[in-house]
């Protein structure tokens, strides 16, 4: 009994050490974005100058807008196409269904370096070229499988008899979908949408290969800035990104159980 207690105590300590490892660099970065010294010198002196100068940096601002626009449009497209595909995969039986479901995994499993370079080659070959439109095409393709997987998981908890009941009460297909099925799977659809937004907003590798100097996204712009040299402005913008994406994830967790306990 005593040994069990001690082991459990060690276990808790261990988890806190892991959390420290995971969060320390992020916390330090956030702190340094409020520090006067551009070379991260201590003692710490409070300032919000770096955030102020962020507002003057037109390149970063326009890249941020690009990122947001692409993420919003990609999310809408992914949610519509993904929900439609999930419903079809759930409702109908046909040959090749297994294959279609299996085809969702290559985009998730293949390293983005390979997908990104392949997109660059193909889009160049067919005349789409690089730029924001190419980035949008790529982001939707990367996020779509996640949306289909998440919405399909939610559909697994749906009883098809409910659709039957609505139909026998005289509802047509459209009414059944709108009034019965969609409300039930809404948490899955919202979680899928938040997923898609996160995948697109945080996407670096694919955007990197598909962007041009004028048409670029925030992560690509940050990468360029890091390679040119550290500036505290990057700390500031990075801190904002981390806060935004973590908030998004917390929101997603509210709509979708990841632990699979429910």
């Amino acid at each position: 009994m005593m040994i069990t207690r001690i082991l459990e105590w060690f276990g808790r300590l261990y988890i806190f050490m892991l959390l420290a490892f995971l969060y320390l660099p992020i916390i330090i970065m956030a702190l340094m974005s409020f520090n006067v010294s551009p070379f991260y010198q201590l003692p710490f002196e409070w300032t919000t100058d770096w955030y102020a100068s962020l507002w003057q940096n037109d390149q970063l601002i326009s890249a941020t807008w690009n990122s947001l626009e692409i993420a919003v449009i990609a999310t809408i497209i992914c949610v519509v196409l993904g929900t439609a595909a999930s419903l079809a995969l759930f409702r109908y039986e046909f040959r090749g269904k297994k294959l279609l479901q299996a085809l969702l995994f290559p985009p998730i499993a293949i390293p983005w370096l390979i997908t990104g370079t392949a997109m660059l080659i193909f889009f160049f070959g067919v005349g789409i070229g690089r730029g924001l439109f190419a980035i949008l095409l790529g982001h939707v393709a990367l996020a779509l499988p996640y949306v289909i997987v998440v919405v399909s998981a939610r559909l697994q908890t749906f009883a098809p008899e409910l659709e039957e009941a609505a139909r026998s009460l005289g509802a047509n297909q459209w009414q059944v979908t709108n009034r019965v099925t969609l409300p039930w799977i809404m948490p899955g659809v919202i979680a899928g949408g938040l997923f898609a937004f996160a995948v697109s907003f945080d996407q670096f590798v694919v955007s990197y290969f598909l962007s041009t100097p004028g048409q670029t996204t925030l992560p690509v712009e940050i990468y360029a800035a890091i390679r040119k040299g550290f500036t505290p402005e990057i700390n500031a913008v990075s801190t904002i990104i981390i806060v935004v994406s973590m908030a998004l994830m917390l929101l997603t967790a509210r709509f979708f159980k990841f632990g699979g306990e429910k």
Binding site: Y92, P111, M119, L120, A141, I241
Partner: protein, 289 residues
């Protein structure tokens, strides 16, 4: 009713198609056709678009096998993938165990969320945050010198360990997540049964817990190993000159050297290696289902 069912099943594809087509057309245009185009391009001498003459060639693949540099870098990337995966198992598995079997209720839920939360924040930004910690005169250096009575210089920046630390930090939540899911599914009574039959803690761990959580370990390992072998941004930022790996060489072909056909061949070789590894891992995963 039965006849209707038969017709529905017969017409299944026709009915499903309008709902499925947009999503799968998009995936075809943006994923499957590009991957095919990459294979095609890897057999060319030059891009056919620039107006320059081109021909089919095996030269790009010959380059991989004739110049030992590429093979060396591929092996270095595979080694990097292996080391990062092992560290993630060593660090992540015990944490997953504590989460699944020691913590209970709300505190478990909250800590689980805290562990996987950073994973969903921007990877590039997290790698960059390590640069601040690891460099000379950085936080680690300053903190250690403030505590220790003697002066030491810690400059891990632009070194192999820095790349390992950054990558482990990025990928360890994957391992915690997959292992947690399988560990949680193990019935506590199995562990108690083992203990009451006289097995030591270590024996229960070896004979019961680890075998039953193997699918989670393998899934986590595959999810970590594959992207790490293809990583290029992390070695570039944290590794500097020592950060040349297979991924960075592919990146160079596309953004610096502009030898796209060679880049395509190198990418395709990486894809083949990745597919072989996933194929080896998949039987273990299937057995779990």
């Amino acid at each position: 009713m039965a006849a209707q069912g038969a017709i529905a099943s017969h017409n299944g594809l026709r009915k499903a198609l309008p709902w499925l087509a947009p999503a799968y057309l998009w995936l075809t245009v943006a994923i499957f056709l590009p991957l095919s185009a990459m294979v095609f391009f890897s057999f060319m001498t030059d891009l056919p678009l620039s107006g320059k003459p081109w021909a089919f060639t095996l030269g790009n693949y010959a380059a991989f096998f004739s110049q030992s540099l590429y093979l060396t870098l591929l092996l270095a990337s595979l080694r990097l993938g292996l080391e990062v995966t092992l560290w993630c198992i060593i660090i992540g598995y015990p944490a997953a165990y504590v989460l699944a079997k020691v913590l209970k209720g709300r505190s478990r839920e909250a800590i689980f969320l805290l562990v996987i939360l950073p994973f969903w924040s921007n990877g590039l930004v997290r790698i960059f945050s390590w640069a601040m910690v690891l460099r000379e005169g950085g936080i680690l250096d300053t903190a250690l010198n403030a505590v220790l009575p003697f002066k030491i210089n810690i400059d891990l920046m632009y070194s192999y360990p820095a790349v390992i630390i950054g990558l482990v930090h990025s990928y360890v939540p994957y391992m915690v997540l997959t292992c947690y899911l399988t560990l949680q599914a193990i019935d506590d009574s199995l562990i108690e049964a083992g203990r009451s039959l006289g097995a030591s803690r270590l024996q229960v761990l070896k004979r019961v817990i680890i075998p039953l959580s193997m699918p989670g370990l393998v899934a986590g390992a595959a999810l970590i190993f594959v992207p790490v072998v293809g990583s290029f941004m992390e070695p570039r930022i944290l590794g500097g000159r020592t950060g040349t790996f297979y991924g960075t060489v592919i990146e160079d072909q596309f953004v610096a050297v502009f030898n796209w056909p060679l880049g395509a061949a190198l990418s395709f070789i990486l894809l083949a290696v990745v597919l072989v590894i996933l194929a080896v891992a998949s039987p273990v995963l299937k057995r779990a289902n």
